[in-house]
């Protein structure tokens, strides 16, 4: 079965190869040159991923070409007709020009040229957009950001049309559209252009790529070094400032994906046309690191939903398709091919061709997901995000101890997430927003994003006295970051500290994903130490995904009426479903998610409680998802600890009607503290034990010795993990 577009490509290739219509030397080709286009044309029928991508592009464009061409005078704000139409027109110029190169079909070239000429006609006649509000105005769009994005696509289209445009047309388009467009972006809107910010990156990419195509080095230079060409702003500065040395972007993976696009597209174009910049080696190769960071900050193809994040987004977004194709072209890392295969799409470009060829040649290998620390901050000294993975990559533990992440940051210092066997087990709400769903307030961030999603109680981290970190104030939170004191990929553990979120209270958390032959899945260790000279209520929420199947004691439960857990800082959104008093003992809560059971074993001092909460109170528009949380609560305490281990165990199989190990294999949990040393002792069914030894000191060379219950534990450095078989003991 050969689709129409494939047939047309094949036909085109025959005609072209016999008639030698294409020049044999490639034209410049930002992301696609004529040799590559010919390669696509000749090989597409044998490259399923590429065929699918070309077909998808052709299908969308053919539909668009079947309606009347319209280049309206700009009038509407975002979402309105002229806004959407100019977006689509820009995309269409790019796609039609690309399909012309690939298929040789003249109608695509004619369409793209006609549309370009309409813009060359319109552009001189319009001024700043009438609907601009607080942002810098564009001309085609209400904000200059959209104008920059438009040009990034259109200049790629223009690039593909160079062999069909007449010299007169080229001159006209340059004079009426491209040059004044660049001037508007870089001179008239110089403030945005020189911002070290994502908006500035789009502007730099638009101007720089236009310079590469027109052969205008001035454009390239100001794009790279700012209007003043002094390097205080521009693309190079942005590369330096907007990523940490590990390629982490402070707003988190959701926005990192978004920010990535202009970086990789412009960098790749620059690399192809002016390789002398060696841009992908710039700053120790941080752009490639940023692409890899995006991939590594995901599980099961979805990004970790840190800070404001829509949870649907993952590795199959278009930004990552660009990122992965480009990274593969540069590195030939076969692990990237498995990511690309999951994307089910390649860019119709030279790099996309390479990826499709390699996948068709079955070169793909599993991507190497491993435990990593992503430092935050331009200098890497503003905390970080630790990702701990099991050797089989089935489990991932994420600990966030980073900077605030600007306006999209959440008050979630030292919070964590946990994934296992394909599912989110300990979750982050992400953002309270239904992207583009107009019936949900037009698709913008909802009020509950502030009242719930950003609040500390919405995360798996400490809340003191029912107030969010920094009292929920962004300014204060932005002044400091959490700290990663120890990260060990060998032990698969991390220690993190937060000293500023609450006046007079500091808290440290040690988390590990402990892999042992004693259990078939890794054990999550969670040890939090809190220091304060005054008494507080300490709440440690755990947002679990799944259905409760076991609680070690019967909690009290709200039966006929239910009330909220509190009044503000997010507590007003939680229903108090139940509460279990705990008095200095270990408690166990098990839930079922997917076909696995998950048991939290936790040790609480006397007069503590486990609260069972459900999201959804004070939600008049039913905006919040109904999710569940446990809240471990200690009341009237100064210094204290929270000690828990989370076990993944067993199997539920409803189809074949069996259930294995539905109860935790942890039968005892102890915490022994002796001055600056401590032990967490986890006793398993059968008597074997896992013992985590910890020193307050983070000196990796310091020797420690601690005796407990007739045994001596000796270790070097901050942390150690001991396994004791059931024969070792007593």
């Amino acid at each position: 079965m050969v689709s129409n577009i494939l047939r047309s490509i094949l036909l085109g290739a025959l005609v072209l190869s016999s008639a030698q219509l294409w020049a044999t030397a490639p034209t410049s080709g930002l992301l696609l040159n004529s040799v590559e286009a010919k390669g696509i044309s000749q090989q597409v029928a044998e490259l399923p991923l590429l065929a699918k991508s070309v077909e998808a592009m052709a299908e969308g464009l053919n539909a668009f070409m079947s309606i009347d061409m319209d280049v309206p005078v700009p009038r509407d704000a975002g979402g309105g007709y002229t806004h959407e139409r100019h977006k689509k027109n820009g995309q269409a110029i790019y796609e039609a020009a690309t399909l012309y190169q690939v298929t040789g079909e003249q109608r695509y070239a004619d369409f793209a040229v006609a549309l370009l000429l309409r813009y060359a006609d319109l552009y001189p006649k319009i001024g700043p957009h009438p609907e601009h509000k607080h942002q810098a105005p564009g001309k085609l769009f209400w904000q200059i950001l959209n104008d920059a994005v438009w040009l990034v696509y259109v200049i790629q289209g223009y690039d593909q049309l160079q062999d069909v445009l007449t010299p007169e047309q080229k001159e006209l388009i340059a004079r009426n559209l491209l040059n004044p467009y660049v001037k508007y972006l870089s001179v008239d809107s110089s403030e945005t252009f020189n911002k070290v910010h994502n908006h500035g990156t789009w502007a730099a990419a638009a101007v720089g790529m236009t310079g590469l195509v027109l052969g205008n080095q001035e454009y390239v230079d100001i794009a790279l070094k700012g209007s003043a060409k002094d390097g205080h702003s521009g693309f190079l500065k942005q590369i330096e400032a907007l990523f940490s040395p590990d390629g982490y972007y402070t707003e988190g993976p959701y926005y990192q994906r978004y920010a990535l696009m202009p970086f990789v597209v412009f960098a790749r174009a620059l690399d192809r046309v002016q390789p002398q910049w060696d841009i992908f080696k710039y700053r120790d190769g941080v752009l490639l690191k940023a692409i890899y960071a995006c991939i590594n900050l995901s599980y099961n193809n979805l990004f970790f939903p840190l800070n404001d994040a829509i949870k649907d987004k993952g590795l199959d977004t278009i930004e990552l398709v660009y990122g992965v194709d480009i990274a593969y072209a540069l590195t030939k890392d076969k692990g990237l091919l498995s990511v690309a295969a999951n994307q089910q799409q390649v860019i119709v470009s030279g790099d996309g061709l390479l990826v499709a060829q390699a996948i068709a040649a079955q070169q793909q290998q599993p991507f190497d997901y491993s435990s990593m620390l992503f430092r935050d901050g331009a200098n890497g000294d503003e905390g970080g995000v630790a990702v701990l993975r099991s050797d089989d990559a089935k489990s991932a533990l994420v600990v966030k101890a980073a900077g605030q992440g600007m306006g999209h940051g959440h008050f979630d210092r030292l919070g964590w997430l946990y994934y296992d066997h394909g599912n989110e087990i300990v979750s982050d709400y992400g953002a309270a927003r239904y992207l583009n769903v107009v019936t949900k307030r037009g698709g913008v961030y909802l009020p509950e994003n502030n009242t719930w999603a950003k609040q500390s109680i919405a995360h798996n981290t400490l809340v003191v006295d029912e107030r969010s970190h920094f009292n929920g104030k962004l300014g204060k939170a932005s002044e400091s970051s959490a700290k990663v004191s120890v990260f060990s990929d060998k032990l698969n553990a991390v220690s993190v500290v937060e000293a500023n979120a609450y006046p007079g209270v500091s808290f440290e958390r040690t988390m590990g994903l402990i892999q042992t032959a004693l259990l078939d899945s890794p054990l999550v260790l969670d040890l939090m130490t809190i220091r304060s000279s005054t008494k507080h209520q300490y709440d440690l929420p755990l947002h679990y995904a799944g259905q409760l199947t076991y609680i070690s004691e019967q909690p009290k439960v709200a039966l006929n009426t239910m009330e909220t857990l509190g009044k503000k800082h997010g507590y007003q959104h939680l229903w108090k479903k139940g509460w279990l008093p705990v008095n200095g003992s270990a408690a166990q809560v098990t839930w079922l998610k997917g076909n696995r059971f998950y048991s939290l074993n936790t040790l609480l001092p006397k007069d503590s409680q486990i609260l069972f909460a459900e999201l959804g109170a004070n939600d008049p528009e039913f905006n919040l998802r109904r999710e569940n949380a446990l809240v471990l609560r200690q009341t009237g305490r100064k210094d204290t600890h929270f000690v828990s281990v989370l076990e993944s165990h067993g199997e539920y199989n409803g189809v074949r009607e069996y259930t294995k190990q539905p109860t935790s294999q942890v039968r005892g949990l102890e915490h022994h503290v002796d001055k600056d040393l401590s032990l967490v002792l986890v006793e398993l069914d059968g008597g074997a034990r896992i013992v985590v030894a910890k020193a307050d000191s983070v000196d990796p060379d310091q020797q420690h010795t601690l005796a407990f219950n007739g045994k001596r534990y000796q270790w070097r450095g901050h942390l150690a993990i001991f396994e004791e078989s059931s024969n070792d003991g007593k």
Copy 2:
């Protein structure tokens, strides 16, 4: 990559084919004869589905063979050690004997023979099981049912061992095990044996299959016709009584699947050994109809969860693997192959071989899911279950108007379910039970199964005065059934009636899955007419799956405290989240599920309400899932109607960041009643209309005319559907 088991099979096949170890004429072979076994052996490497099935069998059995053989004296009740061990031993005899035939490996034969001989040693020494309680006792197991199941497997194993057992061994096994076992099942436990009930079917299968293998016609005859051989009981009678003429089993698809196993296994064995019975043609081929009914009573491979049902169960259960393989062997229906391919498994049998061959030869075609009525009751006169599907099979509407379904039945007369684009949209809770999860009361039906899952409010049907149908009494409910007055696969609509659930109240429901070019998905019509001479409160719940995205007016919402919707009959389990007064107008509620939007448009008289409810109140063990419902409420009414249409529309795409048509295209809903005729008028955006005309009469030939708003509607029979373009009107 060839796995170990495959390598061993291939090796065995070479040895065997050269040495001519196998007889060339097949031995009897209940479900597998020596020619088929040889076929499997020779072809398995080229038949991926068969290879996978053989490998899975070998993997499980090898693990079992690596532990010490044990045939314990029966002691434990269900779930206990001796119970589980005897189950596994029986399975192992069958699997080892089968693998011996397929691989030629002597160790499998040796193992199976040794285990069989152990049972021949044990059986004479044991009496009725010590742990029997209310059921008829078995010997190996606490209930005779398990003993029968055990023999169904073991006799198949014995059958495969006939060429390795010595005459002395055969004599011993027959004397000590098989004959006394049959006697215990058929004579000592004659009450169960002669029951026209699922337990009787397992006993008949065990005895009959043993008769086929031993060549004992007496066993075959009593299995088919009961102890007295008069046909008042036995397998033939069970075929007559337990299925409706359409192959529907009154307990519903979940239990139909379970009941199916002994029917199809025994029938297929009988058909192969004594084809003269022509068993699959018996009673107009009802056994094949029953297999097809199971498939047709599913969506997206999962059974419709009518009555007590675990929602994980579907077409990939082992019972359906048997059913589909056997049905394919008999019919060669290529649509069954696509079901088999989804099962990812075949039986290691002659029929399984045929299926695997056909799939490898790419003969599979989509299964033909179409609209069907499954009548209930042995005579087909006890109502039924209507399944209405869209032509593209993306949507399915299920309307239940059947008998009570015995002890596993729910009080759900005239309830419905709706599936669309792969998801459950309007749902049935199924059973409140975590199958085999011991921490949930041992995995049995939970208290909430009675207090919630069976109650009428837990279903999408009418509840009068907050009491369940028949006041929740099984005995009363079992005396009558609902009625299907009209089923039209042409109109894709059904009218059903319930006259007994409430004294003095009868209700009729007309539902349709209306396919029209005016909309891209079918429109669900729901028209309920209630007749009563006294005033009542009428509640019509709609259990929706998804996230609310739009309500036509702002409801009042429980903010800081929340109460239950009522006190009993399931209402005590619903939290009252919100309530929207409606006064004689149409209201609209939209939710998002998967990537589609669903809008209920409903017309309510004055002083009505839409209640927003969430499951989970009075649930001290957190047994209930947190699901959501709307409840349409009319108060203080005698005769009345509920008129609604449910539209599936639009698309949400979070990855590509677009949303299409998030609001309903229904802009008006009217209901016009004129004596015994009525119209439901659905006006769409743009002015086109869908008009459903209905007569109270169900006479298919009667002509009707009704004028409304200057238009005349003329139709013949109970129902008609008119489409009016926007130009037709006024």
